[in-house]
Symmetry: C2
Subunit: 559 residues, 2 copies
Amino acid sequence: MSNLRRGIVAPAIVLLLAATAAPLSAQAPAQSPAVSQPVPSPPLATLDAHRVVPVPANVTVAAGEPFVFSANTKLVTDGPAELTRTGEYLARILRKSTALRLPVSGFKRGSPSAGNVVLLRVDTSAVASVGTAPTARDEGYTLDIAADTIRLVARTPAGVFFGVATLRQLLPWGIEAEQSALRLAPTVSVPPGRIVDSPRFAWRGSMLDVARHFFTVDEVKQHIDLMALYKFNRLHLHLADDQGWRIAIASWPKLTQVGGSSEVGGASGGFYTKADYAEIVRYAAARHIMVVPEIDMPGHSNAAIAAYPQLGCSRPTPNIYGEGTQSAGVYTGIRVGWSALCPDKALTWRFVNDVVREIASITPGPYFHIGGDEVEVLNHTQYARFVERVQAIVHKHGKTMVGWEEVGKATLRQGSIAQLWRSDTALLAVKQGNQLIMSPGPRTYLDMKYTPATEVGLRWAGYIELRTAYDWDPATYSAGLSEQAILGVEAPLWSETVRNLNSAQYLLVPRLPALAEVAWSAQAARSWEGFRTRIATHAARWRLLGINFYASPQVEWAP
Amino acid sequence: MSNLRRGIVAPAIVLLLAATAAPLSAQAPAQSPAVSQPVPSPPLATLDAHRVVPVPANVTVAAGEPFVFSANTKLVTDGPAELTRTGEYLARILRKSTALRLPVSGFKRGSPSAGNVVLLRVDTSAVASVGTAPTARDEGYTLDIAADTIRLVARTPAGVFFGVATLRQLLPWGIEAEQSALRLAPTVSVPPGRIVDSPRFAWRGSMLDVARHFFTVDEVKQHIDLMALYKFNRLHLHLADDQGWRIAIASWPKLTQVGGSSEVGGASGGFYTKADYAEIVRYAAARHIMVVPEIDMPGHSNAAIAAYPQLGCSRPTPNIYGEGTQSAGVYTGIRVGWSALCPDKALTWRFVNDVVREIASITPGPYFHIGGDEVEVLNHTQYARFVERVQAIVHKHGKTMVGWEEVGKATLRQGSIAQLWRSDTALLAVKQGNQLIMSPGPRTYLDMKYTPATEVGLRWAGYIELRTAYDWDPATYSAGLSEQAILGVEAPLWSETVRNLNSAQYLLVPRLPALAEVAWSAQAARSWEGFRTRIATHAARWRLLGINFYASPQVEWAP
C-alpha cells in the first residue's frame, strides 16, 4: 500500500481539493454539465517523509498544528541577495496553483520572523545542526516546520535551495498543477516537524548526450527542472561526438555549420549558439546546478573532422564497418572507436586550445570534461601524451580536467577527475590520488533498456530495471575503492535511441530519482523497500509536471 | 487477445528481429555482457489490416509471397515533382532502421515497374478504383501489394501520401526505431493484398491552443508528425487569446512584445516569427497538412488589448473575478468572456485589417479562422455586425472565413464555415446553407480529463474516456444535422492545463487516433471492438517514436 493511499484515509487533516475549477473553465458554456467528483490531493498526515526522494538524513515528527499557507503568508529571505531568487522560485510554484500572493522580501529589522512566515536563511554558523563534513557544510540544510513558521536554514544558498526541494515534496502533489487545481481549496498545509539533511556526495550529476541527438534549449531546461526536483547539482553536456558538434566556436565556424547539421538517423541536428549556452548555464545556476561541458577527444571526433578534414591524420572512413549514411561527411550510424584527432599536427593543438579557451570563457563552473574514452586508433603512448597535453591546456584556461576513466593511463594533475564507466582503468586514477565520479554502465547508463520488452534503449551494459539502478553502494561497487576516492555519482544518458525529450524521460524516470538517492542519501538511511514506497507517490506529480516515465512493475504506483 | 500477440504465434512469416545491434553500441567495451533475447517486432502474417488506424474502406487479402524490402528495392515515383518528397519521406522512415539504400527516382521510359519496386503514382483516371465522391477523388488511394511490386496509386499527391501512411502501419513496428533495431535482420516484409481507401470527411483537423501555453516550433513539428501518422489534413493554430499573442505582426509590434510575454500560470510565453510560422507551414505541407490560423475576436482578445489599450472600449479588468495575476497587463488566469475589441473604433478596424492581411499573406491555405466565441460584453447586434465586417475583410484578403459556431448569428457568406462546439447555435449556420466542422465538447475536446483519476485536464464538458471519443457518429450527433452539412471533424486541445508537449500527448493519444477514424472511416466500416483491437498494437510504435500516451484501461495493450 502506498503512502498516498494511506494519506487519503487519514481522517484529521485531509482536505479534498478540487482538481479543476469548473466555473472558471475556458470555452465553458453556462450549461456545462456539473461534474462534482474531485481528485483528492491530500497533504501529508504527519511529517513521516514517506514521500521525499532522496530520503532525508533525519526526520523528527512534532506534535501540533500544521503550517497553513494562506493569504497572509509571507516569504522572508535573510542572507545573500541570491536567496531572493530561491524565494521567488518557491513562491512561483505555490502561486501557480493556489493564487496566493506570497510576497517575497528581504529580512530587515522589524521583519516578521513568525506569524505565517516562511523564512529562508543563510547562516554560516548553522554547521552545528547539519554536520561538519564538507558536503554538509556546502549543501546541508535544516527545515523546521511549526504552525506559525517554516524556518529553512543552511550555511549556503545552495543548501537553502535543496531544502526548498524537500519542502516542495512535503506539499500536496496538486500544487504542481498548471492551473487552479487548488484555487478553490481553503489552504495548503505542511505537518509540523524537523528535517536535518545533507548529501553523501558532492557531485550528483546527470549527463545528456546532445551529440547523437540534439536537444533544444527548451528541452534542456525541462531536463534541468527534473534535476532540480531531486537535488542534482551537475549537468554534464556531451557536446561533441562522431555524429554532431553542438556548440558554436567563433574561431572554427564550420564545426557547427557542418558538424551540427545532422544526427543519428539522419535528421537535421542543431547546435547551441553562445547565447543559447549562456541561457542554459543561467537557468541551471538559478537551480544550483553547474554545467559541465564535454568535448570528447581525441576519439569520438568525426563531427569535427568532417568540418575540418585536416584535423585527422587521414580522413576517417565511416563506412569501414559497412553501415551508416552520411550527410555532408557527418556520420549518422552508431559505431564507436574509429575516429581520432591527429595528435602530431600543430593544427590539432591550435584547435584544442581555441575550443577549450572559448568554452571555458562562457562556463562559470570550474570543470571542463575532455572525454578521452574509447580511442582505438592511437597507441598507449600517443593516447597518454594527448591527454596530458589537453590537461595542461585545460589548466591554462583556469579549469579542472574531467575525463572518462581511460584518462587514468596518463599522468594526472592533482585534482583532475576520472569518470568510471567500465571499471577496468578507473583504479589507475585512484592510485594517482585522483577522485572518481561513479558512472558504472550496468547501474547508471540510463540509455540501457529496463527489460527485454521495453522498446527504447540499448542493452550492451545489461538491462537496468529500477531496483538495479537503486540497489548498490558506490563505495563497495569495485574492489579497491573507498568512500574517500569517490567524488560522486552521475547518470549518463547516451542518445543513440533517444529522439526527443519524451523518449529521454521514459528512460530517465524513475531511474534518475533512484540515482539521486544513491548520490544524496547515506547508505544506512536508504533501502529498496523504502524507496519503492516513496517513489510510488511521485507519479501524480510527474503527470502534472508533464514528465514522461516508465511505470516499472517493481513499484505499486498510486492510482 | 491483441493482433500483435497473434502475429507472434503465426509460424510461417514471423521474423524475430533483434531490437538492438549489440556490437554497434556506443561506449560498448569488448567485454560487454552478451544479452541475446530480442524484442520481436513481427510483420503482419496476412494483410488483415488489423493494425491500421483509421480502418481502411476495403481490404482484400491475396495469396502468395510477401513483398520483401531488400538491398535491391527501388522507390519509383510517377507524377508531379512533389511525389519525390513523399518518396523520400517513406525512404527516410525505412532507411533509419534498416540501413537499406532505397533510392528514389522519377519514372522514365525504361524505369522498372516491377522487380522489387515500390511505385508511387498519381493517375487522374484512378477515380474508378477509389470511388467518385469528392473526398475520394481528392484523397483516396489504392495500394496493391504483391511479391515483386508495391503499387500505390491515387488521383492526387495527397492521396499517395495517405496511402504511405497506411503502408507504414503495415510494416513491423520495429521500423520506427531511431537506431538499427532491424539492421541485422535480413528483411522487412509486407503480406500481399489490396487496399482501396478514401476518407469520409474532407476536413480532418487537430487544433493546438498555443495561446494559453506556448508550444515551440520543434514541439509543433512533433505534433505534425503525430497527425501525419493518422491521416489528418488540417492543423488549426489558436494563435491569440486573453493570455497570449503568438504570431509576429510587423505593423503592430507590441502584440508579441507585450502580448507574447506570458502565458497561463505566469511562465514567459513566446511567439512565432514569420519565419517560424513559414517553417511550420512548410513542414505541415510536406505531410499534406494545411495550417489554419486563428485570431480570436472580438472576445478572447486581452493579449492584444494589453499591448494596445486603445483597442478596448475601456481597459478590461482582469481582476474583476478576483483571480488571475498579470505580467505587463497580460492575463495568466483561465476565466473567459470578459475581454472584447471595441467595435466602434476606427483603430479596431485598422488593426483587424492589418492582422488579417499580414497573416493571410503568409498562409498558403484558403482559410482564416476568426474565433468569434464567447463574447459576453457585446450585444447581439454588435456581435453580428462585428463578424460580418471581419468576414468581409477576410474575403478581401482572399480567404474563406471559419469561426466558432456563434458566427451563425451573423449573416454568413456562402462557403464560410462554422465550427460546432456547444451545439446550440450551430444550426443557425446550417440553416444559412453553410457547412460545419464538428467539434462537440463532450466528444472532441481533448483537454477534458479521461476519468476523475487522471490528473491533467479540465472536466466542464465531461470526462472523455477513449470509447467516448470514438463511439459516435458526426451525422447523427445533433438533431437537424445531415452528412451533407458536415465538412469534417476536428479535435481541439485547449491548453489551460497543458504545459508542454508531453502533457499534450498524454491528452491526445489515444483519443486523437480515435477521432482520426471518426473523421476518415465510413461509419459502417468501423466499430469500437475493432478499434480497440487495432489501436492496442500502436503502443510499441508510440514508444519508439517518443510519443507519450494514456494507457486507457479500455484497451488490452500489447505487452
